[in-house]
Structures are given as structure tokens and as C-alpha cells.
């Protein structure tokens, strides 16, 4: 009797431990996937998916550098990925477990190599641009029909901003993107690591600061869609999601997105496996699942971001593949710039500059 009880307990304990091991924990950006894909993954693999979200690279990086995050797959952007690879936060991918890697698009992979040499640690999930989202009706009402809605003039020229301020303008709370954008506007190298050049961006931003209502990296989706604000400097797909939410709500709000014609920042969100991931095998299964052409297309069709998967392109809906705001034409693509990580000393200057811009101190 006791023996059966013991073996029974052991069996239950074993089942419990295997059930535990078969979880895959994914940490991705908020509003960044078609949730049906999550159910599909669980169905296909029998693994249980724990899906958490964040809205800033900084939060993710702090978890990675603290170690023991418990996540199997995380999604840092290019510059952050590069720094975390140096810190030893990720493990090399086992390409044998990733047959779908052949679906990837060399136009994107060749660019992500500057962050992850030979793409040994990461696969591209989505990429996009940082640009300007406007509530077309309200902005034209304030600035007239020839409002420069596709230009940095709209958000960095105090003349325009002073008029837009009351209507509500949000900026991303992401100095690593807002400062390069400002440098581009004044004709400096957007990827400058020189504190004196960065100070020039500070001057420009301080002049428009009084008219910025909030610096935040996810609230603007809802705020734009509701008509609470007129302009948001944000990420392409987020603003396009706001456009669609407004259209669905039929609240008379019309949102448009433009990558600034002066040149916009191109960024890449890369999926990688933390060095201490509890379920490395499950993590590879998830990456391979995401790289499936149809799954990747489903994700892009849902979130309105371009992906780095060439095979998925035939499954994209016309709304996505035909929209130059998502898949820019070759000329626009040439006009996009990328940045590299700041070393710690410069990072401190950038953060300090950003605090000064935000709080005036």
C-alpha cells in the first residue's frame, strides 16, 4: 500500500515537473502580435505559452542584465541587442533547430548584422520606422491644409508646435530615438556620440518642450485613436494601429503616419534566447514557429509592422504590403538611417539631456 502510494506520489511529482518544464515564456513588446497565433502555437506544439509584454527596451535590458529573468524568448531592438550580446546575456542560436531560417529576407538580415554579426544570436521579428502620427482633421484645422504633416518641421519647429500644443502632442520616451531624429533635422549625424553635438539637439528640443504634453512609449496609440491628442512622434505600426482603432470606432478621427521626409530612423526588433533560458528547446520551437511564412504574415497583418521574412510576403494582405508607410519603396528605404549603441559615458549624457528636456532640471 505504502509502496503504491509512494510510486503514485513520485509519478505525480514527475508529471508536475515535466508540465513545468514544458512552459515557454516569451517577453515581447505590448500590442505586438495576433493573439490567435499564441493559441495556435500551443495547439501545434503542446507547449504551454506564457506571454508577457513590456513597452521599453530599458525595462527589458535591466531584466536581462540582472539575470534569471526566467524568459525563454525576448525581443530587444538592435542597439540594445548588440550591447546585451557583449554583456553575455544571450546564447547562440542552434540553426539545426530552426529550419524556417531559410525564409528570412536578406534585405533585413544584412542590416541587422551590424548589431548581431552573422545573425548568430537573433532572428528579426519586425522592423519599422520612427515617425509622425497626426490627427489629420485637427492638425489641418489648426495649421491649414498645407500643414507639413510629413516633415520634422511639424514637430520640431516651435512656430508649428506652439499652435499644436493645446491640442496635445506626445513624444516617445525614448532618448535613443528622439535625439537622433532631432540631429537629423538640424543636419547633424543622427548617430553622433559626441556630447557637443548631442547638446545641439537639446537646444532644439528645449524650445519645443513647453508644447509637449507627455513623453510616453505606448499611451499614444489609444490617445491618438480617441482624439485626445493631435500629434504623436511614435513607431510606425503603433500609429497605424491607432489609425485602425479610430476607423473601427467610427469616431470621426482620421490618423495618418509619415516617416519624416528628411530621413527617419529604421529599427529592428530581434528575437533572442537569454543565456539562462529555462527551456532552450521550447524557445527554438517558438522562433521556428514565428519564422513560418504564414504565421509571420498573420502577425504582420495584425500589427501593421513589416517583418524580415521574405517567404511571408505572399501571404500579406494588400493593406500591409502595399502601404509605403509599412513597406517603404526603395527610394525611401535609402533615406532611412540606423544608429549604434551609446557607450556608458555618452549614455549618461543622453539620459541627463533627456531628463533636462523632460523635467526642465
Amino acid at each position: 500500500m505504502i509502496k503504491t502510494l509512494l510510486t503514485g506520489t513520485a509519478a505525480v511529482a514527475l508529471m508536475a515537473s515535466t508540465a513545468f518544464a514544458e512552459e515557454v515564456r516569451v517577453y515581447n513588446w505590448s500590442d505586438y502580435i495576433d493573439e490567435e497565433l499564441l493559441a495556435k502555437f500551443e495547439e501545434e506544439t503542446g507547449l504551454q505559452l506564457i506571454y508577457d509584454v513590456f513597452d521599453s527596451n530599458e525595462v527589458l535590458e535591466t531584466k536581462m542584465l540582472a539575470g534569471g529573468s526566467g524568459y525563454d524568448v525576448v525581443v530587444p531592438s538592435g542597439t540594445f541587442l548588440q550591447r546585451q550580446i557583449v554583456a553575455g546575456a544571450f546564447q547562440k542560436l542552434d540553426m539545426d533547430k530552426l529550419p524556417n531560417i531559410s525564409n528570412m529576407w536578406d534585405v533585413v538580415s544584412s542590416r541587422t548584422e551590424q548589431y548581431d554579426p552573422e545573425n548568430a544570436y537573433s532572428i528579426n521579428y519586425m522592423w519599422g520606422t520612427t515617425g509622425i502620427g497626426v490627427n489629420v482633421g485637427k492638425v489641418k484645422e489648426i495649421l491649414g491644409d498645407d500643414a507639413p504633416i510629413d516633415s520634422l518641421e511639424l514637430v520640431l519647429n516651435p512656430d508649428n508646435m506652439s499652435k499644436l500644443g493645446d491640442c496635445g502632442v506626445h513624444f516617445l520616451d525614448a532618448p535613443a530615438e528622439m535625439i537622433p531624429m532631432t540631429l537629423k533635422y538640424i543636419g547633424e549625424d543622427p548617430d553622433s556620440h559626441d556630447p557637443e553635438v548631442i547638446a545641439k539637439a537639446e537646444d532644439v528640443l528645449l524650445k519645443i518642450r513647453p508644447y509637449i504634453q507627455k513623453f510616453h512609449s505606448s499611451e499614444y496609440i489609444q490617445a491618438l485613436a480617441n482624439g485626445d491628442i493631435c500629434v504623436a512622434v511614435g513607431w510606425s505600426g503603433d500609429i497605424l494601429q491607432a489609425r485602425d482603432r479610430a476607423a473601427e470606432a467610427e469616431n470621426g478621427v482620421e490618423i495618418a503616419y509619415h516617416a519624416a521626409k528628411e530621413g527617419a530612423q529604421m529599427w529592428f526588433d530581434q528575437m533572442a534566447i537569454p543565456v539562462d533560458a529555462p527551456n532552450v528547446d521550447g524557445a527554438h520551437k517558438f522562433l521556428n514557429f514565428i519564422m513560418d511564412a504564414q504565421n509571420m504574415a498573420a502577425a504582420s497583418n495584425y500589427v501593421y509592422y513589416a517583418n524580415g521574412n521574405e517567404a511571408s510576403q505572399e501571404f500579406l494582405v494588400e493593406d500591409v504590403s502595399g502601404d509605403p508607410a509599412i513597406y517603404p519603396d526603395a527610394a525611401t528605404l535609402d533615406n532611412l538611417f540606423t544608429t549604434t549603441p551609446y557607450p556608458p559615458k555618452v549614455q549618461r549624457v543622453v539620459t541627463r539631456t533627456w531628463t533636462k528636456i523632460k523635467s526642465g532640471t
Partner: protein
């Protein structure tokens, strides 16, 4: 003599158990190879068990008694002193691009640890006006919101204490009720109330009191509203407890002696509820000073608070050492009101006994 032997026994057992625990966690975290690496912790446990078995009964009882007394101190040691020492140690280290992102760590060995630590980060805090401005601004926000909470909380506590006996339990419940939902969700709800298109503005526009929506969200006003709302129960409960104990006949006596109702309130009720007021103010002031969630959700970019600076040092600069230095100073600032609060509590306890 017997006392001394009990103490020796107590340290013998706690020493064995603690080293068994440390050995276990050391193996578990650094991933030892196989079950054999758990042998030291098993051995230590066995040693403890054997020595317990051969111990005479009256010694067992006395060791147990001592263990019981030691519980609260162990608690303090484990939950306050140890974390504080870790934070303090990090505040003396230097930033590094590694896991964890500072150097030196305990793994580097003892001598490297001692040589690598310095007060550089504390010196750095004095070179930038940002930090003292943030401490001052936090102090200002904490003081103002404590006063506001008192102004809102006192009448509520007074009304509760004056309510008929059978209502009091229900009223008390209503004060505690908000704790049944997450604090975060309740603060989020204020975004929906205070935003430009929010409930409050829509209501005011509808009544015709205002013609343009008020900008409340993302300003310091919203932070005050959030803090007052969140910490109100901490103000009400101690004041209510003080007022509830008050003898009503004192008021009658004051009025018989020619006091007006107002001066009776001022001269009798307020002094008698003084301890409740002090306790409530500290319970609001202390957490409000280091508050992070409310200013980050409801406050604007211009709301300067030390909690936000701490977050930025930690997350944006990835500079754990400077962040820890900011935290250590915040703690030092907080120690003053905490000590005052403790003294007040002690005085109250003595007065009651």
C-alpha cells in the same frame, strides 16, 4: 551558566541550519553536478537532527523558547538589514557591461571586493543639481499631499467616530473596501476620470461650469489627487481609532464650562486625537516621499520626484551603483521621520499602559 549553555546550543543549531540552507542554495543556483553536490547540506541537516535527538528535554524546551524570541529579529535581519547592506555595497561599486551590471562582485574574491569599493557615486550625486532638486521636490510633494490627506481624512474619521454605533463597522468596511482591488488598477482608473476626454471633464462640460476641458492629468495636481486618494485610509484609520476611544463626556464638560462647540472641538477633540493625527501623517508622508507609481502614471514629464530619478538611473542609464546611492540617501532622509514616528508610537504605548 545554564543560560550560557542554552545560548551555545541555540547558536549551534541555528548555525547548522543556516549553513545547510546556504549550502543548498549555493548548489541550486550555481548548478552543481548531480545529487552528490547536495551531500554537504544533507550532512549538516543530519548533524543537527542527531544532536537534537540526544539533547535532554529541558534543554530542548529552552532552545525552542529562545528560537521563538529570535523570530522577529531574524525577520528584521533578513528583510531589512541584509537587503540594505546589499544595496549599500552596490552603491560603492562601479558600472560595468556584464551580468550583473556592476563591478566588483562577490565572485571576484574578498580582496578585490575591498579594493574596488569607494564613495565615488555619492560624490557624483553632489555634482549635479538634479538630485538635490529631486529630493526637495519629493519632500514638497510629500508634505503638501500629507496636509491635503489630513484635511480630507480628519472630517471623515470624525464623522465615522460620531456615527451611530451600528453603522461604524459598515463605514469602516467602506474605507477598507478599495484595498480589495489592486492599487495599480485604482490609479489607472484615475486616468480615465482625469483625462481631457475623461469623466470629470465631460461632467463639468455637461453642467456648463466650464467651456474648455481642464488639463488635470499629467500635472502635479493629478499626483496630489492620486496620493490623497491612495493613502486616505492610512490617515483615517489611526485618527478614527483615537477619536473612537475619546470620552464624549469631556466635550459636554467643556461646553458646560462655557466653550462653544467649535472651541470645544479645537481645545479638546483635536488635542486628544493628536497621536492619531501624527501616526496618520507619518503613514502618508513616508511612502509618499519615495512614491514612483503615482507620479509616473498621473504626473507629467515636469513632475520631478526622486522615485522617478531612481527609475531612470536604474533603467535608462543601467547605472545600478548610482541608483543604489540615490536609494541609500533616500533611506537616510526617511530615517528621521521613521524614528520620530517610532518615538510617538512608544509614547502612546506608555501612556496607555
Amino acid at each position: 551558566m545554564r543560560q550560557a549553555s542554552t545560548l551555545v546550543l541555540f547558536f549551534w543549531f541555528s548555525g547548522l541550519l543556516i549553513s545547510a540552507l546556504i549550502a543548498f542554495f549555493a548548489v541550486a543556483t550555481f548548478n552543481g553536478s548531480g545529487l552528490a553536490s547536495y551531500l554537504p547540506s544533507v550532512g549538516l541537516l543530519a548533524l543537527a537532527a542527531i544532536s537534537w535527538l540526544i539533547l535532554p528535554l529541558h534543554f530542548k524546551l529552552r532552545v525552542l523558547g529562545l528560537a521563538l524570541i529570535a523570530v522577529p529579529y531574524t525577520w528584521l535581519l533578513a528583510l531589512f538589514l541584509v537587503p540594505f547592506l546589499i544595496v549599500f555595497k552596490i552603491s560603492l561599486s562601479d558600472i560595468a557591461l556584464a551580468i550583473p551590471p556592476y563591478t566588483p562582485t562577490v565572485k571576484d574574491g574578498f580582496s578585490a571586493l575591498i579594493q574596488g569599493l569607494d564613495f565615488e557615486n555619492f560624490v557624483f550625486l553632489t555634482t549635479d543639481a538634479l538630485y538635490y532638486k529631486a529630493y526637495l521636490s519629493s519632500l514638497k510633494i510629500a508634505v503638501i499631499s500629507t496636509v491635503l490627506t489630513l484635511l480630507v481624512g480628519y472630517p471623515m474619521a470624525y464623522a465615522m467616530a460620531r456615527a451611530p454605533q451600528e453603522w461604524r463597522a459598515t463605514l469602516m468596511m467602506l474605507v477598507i473596501l478599495p484595498f480589495w482591488t489592486s492599487f495599480l488598477i485604482r490609479v489607472y482608473a484615475w486616468i480615465g476620470i482625469l483625462s481631457n476626454e475623461g469623466l470629470l471633464n465631460q461632467f463639468l462640460l455637461w453642467t456648463g461650469l466650464i467651456s474648455e476641458p481642464l488639463t488635470i492629468l499629467n500635472t502635479n495636481t493629478a499626483v496630489y489627487i492620486g496620493i490623497v486618494y491612495t493613502y486616505l485610509p492610512f490617515m483615517i484609520l489611526p485618527i478614527y481609532a483615537a477619536l473612537d476611544r475619546m470620552d464624549d463626556s469631556l466635550i459636554e464638560a467643556a461646553e458646560d464650562l462655557g466653550c462653544s462647540r467649535l472651541s470645544a472641538f479645537w481645545l479638546v477633540t483635536i488635542p486628544l486625537s493628536k497621536n492619531g493625527i501624527i501616526a496618520g501623517c507619518f503613514l502618508v508622508f513616508i511612502p509618499a516621499l519615495g512614491e514612483f507609481v503615482i507620479p509616473s502614471l498621473l504626473g507629467g514629464s515636469g513632475t520631478l520626484m526622486i522615485g522617478k530619478i531612481l527609475f531612470e538611473e536604474f533603467f535608462n542609464n543601467r547605472d545600478w551603483p548610482v541608483a543604489s546611492a540615490v536609494a541609500v540617501i533616500l533611506l537616510l532622509i526617511l530615517i528621521i521621520p521613521i524614528v520620530l514616528f517610532q518615538k510617538n508610537q512608544q509614547k502612546q504605548a506608555e501612556a496607555e499602559s
